[in-house]
Symmetry: C2
């Protein structure tokens, strides 16, 4: 399949990027901000398509303020790369050469008493440089002030997320056919990575293979443990396709599962369904977490579900909105996020089931659609 | 060659890490800081050997303060990974579960009116969280306050840097034998990456192949341009070996160079030699820049040398000390950095020559030792 023919590969236009920038300024103004300062990372990719080849100590910052046109401030020697990005024509490019204080340059573009949002992952060094150059300015992270900036996806973004999800599903279908028993986790992980790439991913971000006791550590990746007959194995994998993320988990068993594994898997499966069923416009994110958690707690495993139920996904594989107790943000059609409850029995095994779900006017639409049952592998 | 037998692969011990932590606290105290806060990235790797599998929005922070033992604060679900790191036994591990405010946990470990250094690349979101939780605390980036923390390498670190440099040199010797003319830059770049790995690098960070006009953009990586007969080609490549960086540049010519290419190359070569010759203990970093820049300026190309002369190298390939006008830090034996002047003729070609140099009591010791002449390739 050539990228050019795939329906998800419709390019974003300069106008798309300009519209996103305008929306950021507007939402910032509504939130009481004089502007939003965006450094390299997912926010900058979403707003300009620009991703410096390396994130260095040199300040690169997109300034989206209420009092001037969008300005992209870059180190002089990175200017050609910045100008080549799809969305850069929607900005005025300014540069600063080595030897010049970049905060001096930036402060001339800001209000001395302004209130600004700043990318979550902006370097503390840069924030401190701005705070020192303009002591009366105030800052809040985008997650604090405009957490839902990238949360609602447009149709082009949804198509890319659906394509990434379908590729992850095809990967799962094929991994069921590879041998597990007697091979190292890292070998199965390499198979997952190869399959994700074969199905169109340009980037693989994680390929968790948590066998037996390793499955009880929710952030175990894949190690040198040799998978054994009878092992419960958590698979959790994803990456980027057309710049948008995939992330799905299934738990399989090597040969016949014990009654306990079946029971735990049934609980997680029901909890995951309950989480998806809770998705409706206007429902608070925390209700998705509560719906999934309730079933696990009622089954007596409440203290073994040691993470939130889900996270948003887009140009990154972890972003707002989070499905977590305390998150009162109402769901809006176009939001995409994981629903991924799990149960972890330390030293023994773990079970997690995860789909990406898009909120629609009618409820949750799964972007992962493989069998949720406990599949047996060899 | 097995890693275990390589002299550069002597493992760091828990005591090594504990000593680094103690040094950070001491140097911080001398600089007027109540402590240093270290988030994931090179500082944390250097201090603990810990590198989370993914840097996420969740707060991970090593607190090195004057009033308590080193404490590593991590998300609960990443605790097992954190505990597996080599240097973690030198800390007390504390964790915070999803749903708890990590800044509440951190603030209990800090002085309400404390002054702290913070990793350059700490997320602005985390810094703002701490500033909000403890409004009377003050922060400065490590580059502002303790820029030379990792700059002076010990013998084990120097051995690793030398091994990385030797592997990069072997890569250069072999790349001279591959065909350039008629191939894409990206193909030669792939050869460089393969060679770095074959010579022991565990990570390749950059493989610049800047042919013809692309060589005039100092941050061009490698593209789809087909290299032509007569092209001047800038090669700049490196990565990590045993956790420490390599970074070397040479400029080659495909067939016979023009008189102008030879002249420009001679100027850059002499400038690079002058930069290395300037290295002596007690000499300010800016003098290395000035020494190299003087020759280029005298030759009439001053405005075509559009970047600083060098950067430190260690667990990262760009770190203090910087060889740049205004940097008055005196050189200290054990500091390692690049000396890499260049001349860039926009739209036509560029030349850059770069070695990693270690400051010793006797002057500069090159860790790259391949021919500095203009080598011809096919």
């Amino acid at each position: 399949m050539s990228t050019g023919e795939h329906p998800a590969a419709v390019p974003f236009t300069t106008a798309d990027y300009a519209a996103r920038m305008a929306r950021v300024v507007d939402e910032g103004r509504t939130a009481g901000l004089d502007g939003v300062l965006v450094t390299p990372g997912p926010d900058l990719v979403w707003l300009t398509g620009y991703q410096p080849t390396a994130i260095t100590e040199r300040l690169t910052m997109l300034l989206l303020t209420t009092d001037r046109e969008p300005t992209l401030l870059v180190p002089t020697l990175e200017r050609p790369d910045a100008e080549a990005a799809e969305g850069t024509p929607a900005t005025t490019v300014a540069d600063w050469p080595d030897g010049v204080d970049p905060y001096d340059v930036a402060q001339a573009l800001l209000r001395p008493d302004g209130s600004y949002g700043v990318s979550d992952n902006a370097w503390a060094m840069h924030l401190l440089g701005l705070q020192a150059a303009l002591p009366a300015t105030r800052y809040q992270s985008l997650t604090q002030r405009l957490p839902m900036l990238r949360a609602v996806k447009d149709d082009n973004e949804l198509a890319r997320l659906a394509a990434a999800g379908a590729a992850a599903d095809a990967t799962y279908e094929e991994i069921l056919g590879v041998p597990f028993g007697g091979r190292r986790e890292s070998e199965v992980a390499a198979d997952l990575a190869d399959l994700l790439r074969a199905h169109g991913h340009e980037q693989v971000d994680f390929t968790v293979v948590g066998s037996g006791p390793n499955g009880a550590n929710p952030h175990h990746e894949a190690g040198e443990r040799v998978i054994e007959e009878g092992d419960c194995v958590v698979l959790d994998f994803g990456g980027l396709m057309f710049g948008y993320g995939s992330d799905t988990s299934r738990t399989v068993c090597v040969g016949e599962p014990t009654a306990e594994i079946r029971e735990v898997h049934d609980v997680v499966r029901a909890a995951q369904q309950a989480g998806v069923d809770a998705v409706r416009p206007g429902v608070a994110c925390q209700e998705v977490d509560r719906a999934a958690r309730r079933l696990i707690t009622e089954a007596g495993y409440g203290d073994r579900f040691i993470h939130r139920t889900g996270h948003g996904i887009g140009v990154t594989t972890h972003e707002p909105p989070y499905m977590i107790e305390g998150e009162e943000q109402p769901l809006v059609p176009g939001m995409c996020f994981s629903v991924e409850p799990g149960i972890y029995l330390a030293g023994r095994f773990g079970v997690r089931i995860e789909d990406i779900v898009a909120a629609t006017a009618d409820g949750g639409r799964r972007l992962n659609n493989t069998d949720h049952g406990l599949r047996l592998v060899e």
